[in-house]
Amino acid sequence: MEQFTTLTAKMVSIPTENIDTDQIIPARFLKVTDKNGLGENLFFDWRYHADGSHKEDFILNTEQGRQAKILVAGDNFGCGSSREHAPWAIMGYGFQAVISTSFADIFRNNSLKLGLLPVIVDEETHYQLMSLIEEEPDTEIIIDLADQTLQLPDGRKVKFPIDNFSKNCILNGVDQLGYLHQHASKVEAHEAVNPHRVNTLAGSST
């Protein structure tokens, strides 16, 4: 789990709506057994030509992209599969936060567990950020997690929602597994009173 408190950084935008996890990281790159190196394959089919060379005009191949730590994307970002390779790839590239008007549930959950901050903003703020990136690409904004705010260059602060539990885990860089372990006795109590209906080990001769 990456710790995240405040971030002052440049942004880039990919305004497409409904960016699915097959675009974020195509399935052929899921044939890995670790989490490393996926940043190279982030948005692969949008980012590289068939011969493997960079599409120079794709934002992630530009200096602006390489400097940015915040990705501003269209609505319903991260829809599709449950692959955690998607946030791994986004973080592998160097992003620490993604801003959109909404996120798909599983992508959002995965990101929160890793410390990649999914920031939900209203349409107006989203539009304003997009315009900013276009007009003044070097603009930096400030994300303050403790405060749950985005601070725009004009000083305006915009609140964003996040559940307290995820927020505290990310602020402190603590893995959520610790919390589950704390409740081991309650889990045992639950098991004691609930029947054991399937046993996957029974008759598993294959």
Binding site: K31, T33, L180
Partner: protein, 472 residues
């Protein structure tokens, strides 16, 4: 009605039965009854366990198989993809080290994880079921709460048999009336998604109800629940009934004798109580449905097969217009164009949406005595080795082979194009799978999602066809 008098939905009953800890300011700790594992999303979770010196808490509630990267060619041909081989051997090692039962490469029970769970009788009403795969929603057809999780969450469940979850909202999908001839459960779900959009169910759990749902078989219900995630909902469920119990009875992991009687009695208390309320609701009139087809690059871009491709100019917002323009550009389609009569290159019959025995039977009944058109490459991939064997016992494989289709081994295959089964750039496919995202079935490939009947009708004529014109 539930014990405390307040009417509850199916979802609420299962949720309440599985909450272990519910502290203010924290998500609920939810107990998981069954954890399905496959080779692609699990390796890093096992690495996490090893790094932390943890065990798998309940290997007896965990089961693994391999499906995503497995070749569908003859088992005699050795696997040449070293990355796939590495994932397979890693899963074998992980299952071995942690004591998890595995239906491996040569198991007669191997198959797509969402096909084998129900097939083995592991999927049962009232359970919580998770898997590192978004189509875990499939198992909700049995009245289970089943949803996909990421790799960090896989590690949590392996280590603790629990998950941290924020309680989702509920969404009633009422499908009234009866399906007309040539229209199937795949068309119901594609219709729903085309109406609410692919984010329409975000934060919710669907419960499918109504006359049309009640009259569906378990396999048809699975097709619908399978694609709940394409509507943005992590889970979709159907209240268990006699159809459910008949399907489960006698399967290898189903309860037997007295335990069976007790289980059924309990399962009968699960359906949503009269008077229970949902956060959202939509009604679909099955009588008015037609075969559906998608025209774009997400499953929400779908229409009745007789409708023209929509015009981006008809959409309200700039971003909606741009999204559709981009999709039509990728698909190389024109606004206003009819898809009927459009030649395609590939027909794919398979995936956890539509690769069960009833799908293959239905497809074969239409294909029998006919030929796959010359311009079409048709690939039939059974959902599991069991489905394959049963189909072969019924002679269904012969119908496909004689028609000129390619009859393969079980796996995910061209649904996700990880194993070499894939479209060439620019090719069009009518596919019974669940995702038409750019490149999903192979880089540059273009997918039209449809039902098995529409797929076979298209295979026969070589062009997108309304199957109703072929039925008498």
């Amino acid at each position: 009605m539930s014990q405390n008098g307040h009417p509850k939905t199916l979802f609420e009953k299962i949720w309440d039965n599985h909450v272990v800890v519910d502290e203010e300011d924290s998500p609920s700790v939810l107990y998981i009854d069954l954890h399905l594992v496959h080779e692609v999303t699990s390796p890093q979770a096992f690495t996490g366990l090893r790094e932390k010196g943890l065990k798998v808490r309940r290997p007896d509630k965990t089961i693994a198989t391999m499906d995503h990267g497995i070749p569908t060619t003859s088992p005699e041909i050795p696997i040449s993809d070293v990355l796939v081989l590495k994932q397979i051997s890693q899963l074998e090692k992980n299952c071995n080290d942690f004591g998890i039962p595995l239906h491996g490469l040569y198991s007669p029970n191997r198959g797509i994880v969402h096909v084998i769970g129900p097939e083995l009788g592991l999927t049962q009403p009232g359970m919580t079921i998770v898997c590192g795969d978004s189509h875990t929603s499939t198992h909700g057809a049995f009245g289970a709460l089943a949803f996909g999780i990421g790799t960090s969450e896989i590690e949590h469940v392996l280590a603790t048999q629990c998950l941290l979850q924020v309680k989702p909202k509920t969404y009633a999908v009422k499908v009234e009336g009866q399906l007309p001839k040539g229209v199937s459960s795949k068309d119901i779900i594609l219709n729903l998604i085309s109406r609410i959009g692919i984010g329409g169910g975000t934060g919710h759990v669907f419960e499918y109800m109504g006359e049309a749902i009640r009259s569906l078989s378990m396999e048809e219900r699975m097709t619908i629940c399978n694609m709940s995630i394409e509507g943005g909902a992590r889970a979709g469920m159907v209240g268990p009934d006699d159809t459910t119990f008949e399907y489960i009875a006698g399967r290898p992991h189903a309860p037997q004798g007295e335990a069976w009687e007790a289980a059924v009695e309990e399962w009968r208390t699960l359906p949503t109580d009269e008077g229970a309320t949902f956060d959202k609701e939509i009604v679909i009139d099955a009588n008015k449905l037609e075969p559906m087809i998608t025209y774009g690059t997400n499953p929400g871009m779908g229409m009745l097969i007789t409708q023209p491709v929509p015009d981006p100019m008809q959409f309200g917002t700039v971003s909606e217009r741009q999204t559709l323009e981009k999709a039509l550009n990728y698909m190389d389609l024109q606004p206003g164009q009819s898809l009927l009569g459009k030649p395609v290159d590939v027909v794919f019959l398979g995936s956890c949406t539509n690769s069960r025995l009833s799908d293959l039977r239905l497809a074969a009944s239409l294909l029998k005595g006919k030929k796959v058109a010359d311009n079409i490459q048709m690939m039939v991939v059974p959902g599991s080795q069991q489905v394959k064997q049963q189909a072969e016992a019924e002679g269904i494989d012969k119908i496909f082979k004689e028609a000129g289709a390619d009859w393969r081994e079980a796996g995910c295959s061209m649904c996700i194009a990880m194993n070499g089964d894939q479209l060439e750039p620019g090719q069009y496919a009518v596919s019974t799978s669940n995702r038409n995202f750019e490149g999903r079935q192979g880089k540059g490939g273009r997918t039209f999602l449809a039902s098995p009947l529409t797929a076979v009708a298209t295979a026969i004529t070589g062009q997108i066809t309304d199957v109703r014109t072929m039925l008498d």
